[in-house]
């Protein structure tokens, strides 16, 4: 063999092998549903198309908590203004109609693949980072698409997703929480792409929920994507998604729903819960799902239940997942940029908001005395030697004001203390409690709003009467577009409503709705105005709405129980918040499931007495 022939053979073989490898694994391009077009579903036809019946939970490894939640789900929930633009979360997006388009993004300098981007279906555009970056910190905000990183496992792309917002697994109220994680495999087989999606959620699932979605190569590149909202080509002239409004969306009043109302069935009042069971002659037990209904050994039980015979076989119920302890706030010190001039400093499980600008530093809720040094050190990292001029306490909780003295003390040689602003009600209670002057507010207000202009930014301090106490304030940084919620949002737990200090459940709900009046989502119910809770991660409008929904729905159930004459013990026994206890119930103390229900009961009963 001549040298030239060798080289030619070698080059040809190399080129052919590379081409073969690429053809096997690459899924960049445009994809139709497996059956063709945008509605070519060949699995889960009803679920993915017209929508599932109420009470169709078959084949889902759900636990009792989310079964309860879904059984009380009302489709009218989607008419709440904050929900009218909800996108399909990444955990469901590929089940939607529409095509899928996949592109690669390269780093211009290194020409390495940095990310895959996914467009299409009803979901948001999604990025899968391939550059080895780490997932964000626990306090970073969550999104409907989550934060995804990918790696190759042979010819399979494995994608891990965290930082998901609360979403749904089936469009009839079967939810997943914001603690859900997702692992996906993208498998290319000849002209087919299969996306295997596994969702695990310690709050609502007894075991990971796995399903797969098939796509077929779309030879008419982008034709179907453009039919679906025009985000590729600017929209079609008619039909579904005829303009980009379909994807951009703007919240609208679809029905005359009272402000703050959150539609949900009261326990026992959903008379359509057996809709699926009746339509398909499926026993209700089977229709209501659970791990057991996924496995072959459940089939004989279906027949036995249907025939009305005493069930001989016991359902092979998977052992329920051990109760997951509520996450504890990170005790370390860290900081995250929130928006504009505002930063979040987390220390000892508390959130401290810090505005840094040309005039200096403003701090909201300095935290406890114990973490004051750590907070101050973190502020110094962010702001250098800029002086703290203003401190705002969102109420009189010692966990907020304990660091006042330390942070207010100006550094030598100035020794000029910062102003400490709080509502008069908080100030009075602190004075009554004998709090030392160095920790006490220096500047109070009585009216509904106190205005400040600092660091070239208008700042509103908004008093919410009778929220978690009678002295709660929200702090709205107008330019930075950030709201500090204080105790109104705890994120990790139920809110702690101090009835003896003038707090009330209805006032706390009013505070949440006031925040929602301020926030404006940037895109499909997320982004835009950021909100800093008292603890936990950064929120946006979608998260505030979820927290408001929780409190409103549970309030409505307790109110309904009171109307029916149930005693506190009966209300406790009814476990009316059991769909939320796994997410928000603290292990003990005033934010525990039991204490929360008692607080609601007493708050609502007090209201009834006052009327």
């Amino acid at each position: 063999m001549t040298a030239l022939r060798r080289v030619a053979l070698c080059a040809t073989a190399s080129a052919a092998l590379v081409a073969t490898a690429n053809a096997q694994t690459d899924f960049v391009g445009d994809w139709d549903q497996a059956g063709g077009g945008i509605f070519g579903f060949q699995e889960e036809f009803l679920d993915r198309g017209g929508g599932p019946d109420l009470g169709d939970f078959v084949g889902l490894p759900i636990n009792d908590a989310v079964r309860y939640k879904a059984s009380l789900y009302s489709p009218s929930w989607l008419t709440v203004p904050e929900h009218t633009c909800l996108p399909h979360p990444a955990t469901y997006a590929y089940r939607s109609p529409g095509g899928l388009s996949v592109v690669k993004e390269y780093d211009a300098a290194t020409q390495k693949v940095v990310a895959y981007r996914f467009y299409g279906t009803y979901g948001l555009a999604r990025t899968v980072w391939m550059d080895g970056r780490a997932h964000p910190s626990a306090n970073a905000r969550h999104t409907y698409e989550g934060f995804s990183t990918g790696r190759w496992e042979g010819n399979k792309l494995v994608v891990e997703t965290s930082h998901l917002k609360a979403g749904f697994l089936r469009r009839n109220g079967v939810a997943h929480s914001d603690r859900a994680q997702m692992t996906e495999y993208f498998l290319r087989h000849d002209e087919y792409l299969t996306v295997v999606t596994a969702v695990d959620d310690p709050v609502y699932l007894d075991e990971p929920f796995v399903r797969s979605t098939d796509f077929r190569v779309n030879a008419q590149a982008n034709a179907h994507l453009s039919q679906f909202g025009g985000f590729v080509n600017g929209g079609d002239t008619e039909g579904f998604g005829a303009s980009d409004v379909f994807f951009k969306c703007a919240p609208a009043d679809e029905v005359a729903l009272p402000r703050g109302a959150v539609p949900s069935f009261m326990p026992g009042a959903n008379h359509d819960l057996d809709m699926f069971a009746k339509r398909h002659s499926v026993p209700l037990e089977a229709a209501l799902g659970g791990s057991a209904t996924m496995y072959p050994e459940y089939a004989p039980r279906i027949r036995e239940l249907h025939d009305g015979a005493t069930a001989r076989s016991s359902p092979a119920v998977a052992p329920p997942r051990a109760a997951v302890p509520p996450p504890t706030a990170d005790a370390g010190v860290s900081s995250l940029h929130v928006g504009g001039q505002v930063w979040l400093v987390s220390a000892g499980g508390r959130n401290v908001a810090v505005q840094i600008g040309p005039e200096g530093v403003l701090v909201v809720n300095p935290g406890t005395q114990q973490i004051a040094d750590a907070v101050l050190a973190e502020i110094r990292k962010l702001a250098g030697d800029k002086r703290i001029h203003v401190i705002i306490d969102t109420n009189d909780d010692p966990a907020h004001i304990g660091g006042n003295a330390k942070l207010a003390a100006g550094p030598a040689p100035f020794a000029q203390r910062a102003a400490i602003i709080a509502h008069e009600n908080s100030s009075l209670r602190l004075a009554g409690a004998g709090v030392p002057d160095r920790d006490a507010p220096t500047d109070t207000f009585f009216r509904g709003t106190r205005e400040l202009y600092f660091n070239d930014e208008p700042i509103e301090i908004i008093h919410i009467p009778a929220a978690t106490s009678d002295g709660d304030v929200l702090v709205f940084f107008r330019k930075s577009d950030v709201v500090v919620a204080g105790d109104v949002i705890q994120d990790l737990t139920y809110p702690v409503i101090r009835l003896k200090d003038g707090g009330s459940v209805n006032g706390t709900i009013a505070a949440l709705n006031r925040i929602l009046d301020i926030t404006i989502a940037a895109w499909r119910a997320e982004g835009g105005t950021m909100v800093i809770p008292n603890q936990g991660r950064i929120y946006d409008e979608g998260d505030v709405a979820e927290y408001r929904d929780m409190l409103t729905i549970v309030r409505d159930r307790v109110q309904d129980a009171i109307k029916k004459g149930l005693t506190l013990e009966q209300v406790r026994a009814a476990a009316l918040a059991r769909d939320y206890d796994g997410r928000y119930g603290a292990a003990a103390g005033p934010a525990s499931a039991s204490a929360f229900i008692e607080t609601l009961y007493r708050s609502l009963n007090a209201g009834a007495a006052a009327r």
Binding site: V18, G154, R216
Partner: protein, 299 residues
């Protein structure tokens, strides 16, 4: 600029020459006779073990026998719909055709456990407890002597997803170390891929199986048909999801007689620790629980 391009071209040529020279020099070295690698030795995925179907999708078409006429989302043509509308389970039993729903076109969609093992170095065997079916995936493409149409037809198999072979040297992928779940369990280890399991190194390829020579059967238990002309193409992959070992099977059924387009479904199977739940049952189709009620959508 042209000078720079020329320089790069010269460097590229030199690198190619050097690489090919090394490769051919390696290839030219005298080696002993190399026996052809068996399919088992060249496996790109260890699919052996016992797996259980997780019926998380199409539950009412899979876990129970759907009513006659409920063939939503199956791309049947007019002839296929007519045949499905005439389905008679009793007639199937009377004709000894009760295994129609257990053929290769539909069996992987049923609530079943499957056991995969090597029948020999060139044949993977898959058995089901539902319907007690046996499928043989032939890597050597030899037509079995009894090539008459059957429920499971004739299946040819090939590994997919292997890195490009190196034509000049030894194989670039280490052969799969046989490590069935039974052996692992005997050794006290958890199943491959499980938490703490001492799983053997596994290449991350997959298996493609093409099945022809089928007897006419059902895609669903309620008589949704495929014909003897059907071709079933399947893709098998192993996945690890939240510490659990899964077998993913994509099934593509093409049938010029009854389908307008390929029928594509994908199924998940979770690895079983042992065979304690294996429950072999003969082919049987329970009657539907009720009559078909077309969905009504609120416009």
């Amino acid at each position: 600029m042209r000078k720079k391009v020329r320089s790069i071209g010269v460097l590229h040529l030199a690198a190619t020459l050097a690489f090919c020279g090394i490769a051919f020099a390696t290839a030219a070295q005298p080696r002993g006779p190399q026996p052809p690698r068996t399919a088992r030795a060249a496996a790109q995925a260890d699919l052996t073990g016992t797996w259980v179907a997780q019926i998380t999708e199409d539950w009412r078409w899979r876990m129970i026998t759907p009513p006659k006429g409920d063939y939503a989302s199956v791309p049947l043509n007019a002839a296929g719909r007519q045949l499905a509308d005439r389905w008679d389970a009793a007639a199937d039993v009377a004709a000894g055709e009760q295994c129609r729903a257990f053929g290769a076109g539909g069996v992987m969609r049923l609530p079943t456990r499957v056991k995969i093992s090597w029948a020999d170095d060139e044949t993977l065997k898959l058995t089901t407890d539902a319907g007690e079916q046996t499928r043989l995936f032939h890597f050597d493409r030899k037509v079995p002597a009894d090539a008459a149409p059957s429920w499971q037809g004739r299946s040819t198999a090939e590994w997919t997803g292997a890195p490009p072979p190196n034509p000049f040297g030894p194989p670039v992928v280490a052969p799969v170390q046989e490590a069935s779940s039974a052996r692992r369990a005997a050794a006290g280890a958890s199943p491959a891929g499980g938490p703490g399991g001492a799983a053997a190194p596994m290449p991350h390829g997959g298996l493609k199986v093409v099945t022809t020579d089928l007897r006419a059967g059902y895609l669903r238990k309620n008589g949704v048909p495929y014909s003897e002309q059907a071709v079933v193409t399947e893709y098998y992959d192993r996945l690890t999801l939240f510490g659990n070992d899964y077998l993913q099977v994509v099934t593509v059924v093409t049938d010029p007689t009854y389908l307008t387009t390929p029928f594509v479904v994908s199924n998940q199977f979770k690895r079983e620790r042992d065979d304690s739940k294996w429950h072999a049952t003969p082919c049987a189709t329970e009657p539907p629980l009720g009559k078909f009620q077309p969905p009504v959508f609120v416009q």
